[in-house]
Amino acid sequence: MSKVLEIKALEAGYGPLRVLHGIDLSVEPGERVGILGLNGHGKTTMLRAIVDLVDWKQGDILFEGESIMRQPTHVLARRGIVLLPQGDALFPGLSVKDNLDAGAYPSGQWKKRQQRRDYVCEIFPRLGERLDQIVGTLSGGERRMCSIGRGLMSEARLYLVDEPSLGLGPGIAKGICETLLTLDLQGGALLIAEQNRALIEGKIDRALRMHGGELTPVTGEDGDH
């Protein structure tokens, strides 16, 4: 079985700014990988580079054995790479139901949307109670649930989760991380960037640290939070 994700000597950035200075990473099927590190060191940029949301990138990114360097975001989404971004990127004027259904937009998934929506509402019963509510009127925690729920609406091969705890109270943050890290990946993989190491510790297969645009393995007594 080929690797789900393989990143080779990836450099990426915005305008003249180079954020990633040559990243190498490979992720096996079924693996949950945590990316630790402080703000501003490139965690978000790495995840966004994978789905082509940076200004420029060079090196190579392989998804299930095939280079995806030249594929646009929407094509990658259809192939099963789901980014749960910082700031949620929801559709604020649409209802919770429409936001969730949008997650099943790829044509193969659209027919299963009802079934997937039930599944998401089982994970987040709060969303089930608020299907007709406009997303812009939800609380921060509910919006995060909606954003993650939207990501779970399609059968993804690779989840890229960017700081799921950001801006949330400790209780909700813990619950959301736990939900994400106990998902049945069905041979896919999950990459989670998180500043708060305690939230994901013990639930991931291995952790790496992003520092100054470079990835290094995390050893036991690493000085991170």
């Binding site: 929407h74 789901v82 990127a89 604020p92 004027g93 429409d98 949008a102 937009y105």
Partner: protein, 291 residues
Amino acid sequence: MTGVIVTTVNLTAIYALVALGISLTWAGLGFLNLSAGVMYAASAYGAWLVSTNITSNVVVVLLGGIVVGAAFGALICLTVFLPLDGKPNWELRTLTATLALSFIATNLYLWKFGPQFKQFEPLFGWIPQLRLGDTLVKSSVTGTLIATAIVVTIVLVYIGTSRIGLGVRALTQSVEGASLVGIDRRTTAFAILGVSGAFIGLAAVLLGQTFFVEPNSGYVPLIKGLIVALLGGLGSLRGAVIAAFMVALTEALTLQYFGGAWTLVTLFILISVVLIIRPRGVAGVLETTRA
């Protein structure tokens, strides 16, 4: 007073159609379509050709205008949106391109159809005139309202329930969010411009019942549509409908009490007042519009 109401409702329908066409394109794709006027004229000519050469059946003629409008939308997608999408100076270049398309199209109409005025056969003659109090409601007014209601309902249901419709609505809310769930902005652009064109095409056939068709006949609807769309808060569909009503009511009242010569004056007073109080238009505060 009944007369004012009838005129208001009639004009609201037509202005709302044009403004919805302009506003939807802005909300979904982020450019101001200055070729909405020639889109209008193309639809009017299309419907006129259908009614003089094929049949004067009302449904066929209306569909003729709608289809030509939607096809013109696809043309704008091919010649303006796709080549310029993602390029620097997007706002300015799309304005220039749609303006250029307007000049080219106007001259093509002049070359092909000549400067003469074309007149439609009345489409709604079969609808009996209604008497509301002391006002006679012309069949064309009743027909306009019925046709607008039917077409707008069909489009709203389509946008509200279909997969492509969800793509359109998602795009008006967040471009990045849309791409993250697999919505292709470039394919959805055809749907957005097609629907915009269909609205404007319908408006063209309906107004063609009252006004002649000639190469420049799209410019006044373009300006009115832009005014209504801006007044409503560019990008807001609800705002466009509310603003269409405000403009229509102002025009109807002016016609009734001051005479036709004053409509532009009162219209500009209305715009000034509204934009001084709410610089982002009627719905600019209710909904987030694209900056």
